[in-house]
Amino acid sequence: MSDTPATGGTANGEQSGPGGDGAAGTQGEGQAGIVQDNAGGGGGAVGRIRINSSSTPTVDGTVSPADATGAFTLGAIQLAES
């Protein structure tokens, strides 16, 4: 598991529909299940990732969801109220 979407289930039989892929990477929304006699279920959406730090964090690895989705955000550490 990284930024590759979780694949929807594979249809079993001509009159059955595959499931929609789960969301990942730059795709924030789950994919629709495919229409058939017995149709596929929809894929789940991405969650959220947040990094708070005092300086600009170094992010060279893979982050999924990607920042293009708005589901990955950076921020400052919370300050105590005096």
Partner: protein, 392 residues
């Protein structure tokens, strides 16, 4: 598991030297200086009064509205000519902003409650952190027994904490350091979200996971729906429209939403009136970018039974990914072999029925003065795939 007690020693020293009432009475750490009283009297008064006043009649301890970050991890500000302690700054201190940096979702004082470090070794099975009881196990061996407070052997503290209505509770583990060795796995289980408070550094060369692979939720997430029902949680996938006796077609369940929209279930495509609409995907209205409160993913909808067909056995919806917060006073480093996962579960397998919806990804919150996600490292909160329809 390495057990260290540096803070126990430190507390003992402070207690003996200043007769402070408690190890974490941070106001007692800064004696008031510069009064006309003898130094012993002045210091004693300041400690007993939490730094709010020294001996009478002398020059002021400080002037104006001075603010200082101190080397012992606390801060103080000048009020009426006297230093007043602002308590611990567990995630740093900002003199420009005149404030301590503190963790999200929990109290600042909780970061310092652990007295030992956690080291998750490679091999030997997953190290399980139970967010409901505080128990830590590996291969059935109990490393930290269930219970709140500081464990005498590991020095790891545990507490549960409620959030708002309809939100999961928190299972809060506090420690002085955290290492997950390459090949090692730290896995969160339980209903509460997993919070790891570390007063020092975090090094992740292995894996931390609050993900789920089936209809059960990760810690702090919501379960997938049973057959014929919507998933759990505020952004759950909805179930497809119903069938009637003799019907052989069923639609798919909706996937759960969170930061994005869940995918809708496919419509069943039979001749009317046997055609039915797929379940709606859950909305993209869950959680906040700051992850305050800390909430995991929602559940996908379960599949629908096809009429009275006894062979029709839809699957349950996928569970929502769990929620994880790591707050550290030092650094958080996820190396090229490290990964943190909070993925949602896939829709369950169906037999002669429509597919179930996938669960949405959960929540990952990392916060420390310095955070490094190295090349090759992975942070993932992906959605689960929808289940396929089946028509043998």
């Amino acid at each position: 598991m390495e057990a260290r007690r540096p803070w126990t020693l430190s507390c003992g020293v402070v207690l003996l030297a200043a007769l402070a009432p408690a190890c974490f009475d941070w106001g007692a750490y800064e004696p008031v200086a510069g009064t006309t009283s003898t130094s012993g009297e002045g210091a004693g008064g300041a400690a007993g009064q939490g730094g709010s006043g020294g001996g009478g009649g002398g020059l002021p301890d400080c002037t104006g509205d001075a603010f200082e970050c101190l080397s012992d991890g606390t801060a103080r500000e000048c009020v009426g000519g006297n230093w007043q302690s602002l308590g611990p700054c567990p995630l740093g201190c900002d003199e420009g902003e005149r404030a301590c940096s503190v963790p999200s979702n929990v109290g600042a004082e909780q970061v310092g409650e652990g007295t030992g470090a956690a080291d998750v070794p490679s091999g030997g099975g997953d190290t399980i952190f139970d967010t409901d009881t505080g128990e830590i196990t590996v291969d059935g061996t109990v490393l930290r027994p269930a219970g709140e407070g500081v464990d005498g052997d590991t020095g790891i503290a545990f507490a549960t904490q409620a959030q708002g209505s309809g939100e999961p509770g928190l299972g809060v583990f506090a420690m002085t350091g955290l290492t997950v060795q390459a090949g090692g796995v730290l896995r969160g289980t339980g209903a509460n979200a997993l919070v790891l408070l570390v007063s020092g550094d975090v090094q992740i060369d292995g894996q931390i996971t609050v993900a789920t692979a089936d209809h059960q939720a990760g810690p702090g997430g919501f379960a997938g729906g049973a057959v014929g029902t919507a998933g759990d949680g505020p952004c759950a996938g909805q179930v497809g429209t119903g069938t009637y006796p003799g019907d052989n077609c069923t639609s798919g369940g909706g996937g759960a939403g969170y930061a994005g929209q869940g995918g809708p279930g496919g419509a069943s495509d039979c001749t009317a009136p046997d055609d039915h609409s797929g379940g709606s995907g859950g909305p993209a209205t869950c959680g906040t970018p700051e992850l305050v409160p800390l909430v995991g993913g929602s559940g996908g909808a379960g599949g629908v039974v096809a009429g009275t067909n006894p062979a029709s056995q839809p699957g349950p919806g996928g569970g929502g990914g769990g929620a994880l917060q790591i707050s550290a006073g030092g650094t958080i480093t996820v190396s090229g072999t490290g990964a943190i996962h909070a993925g949602g579960g896939g829709g369950g397998e169906a037999n002669e029925a429509g597919g179930a919806g996938g669960g949405s990804g959960g929540a990952l919150l990392l916060e420390a003065p310095v955070v490094t996600i190295a090349v090759g490292a992975v942070l993932a909160a992906n959605g689960g795939g929808g289940g396929a329809g089946d028509c043998n």
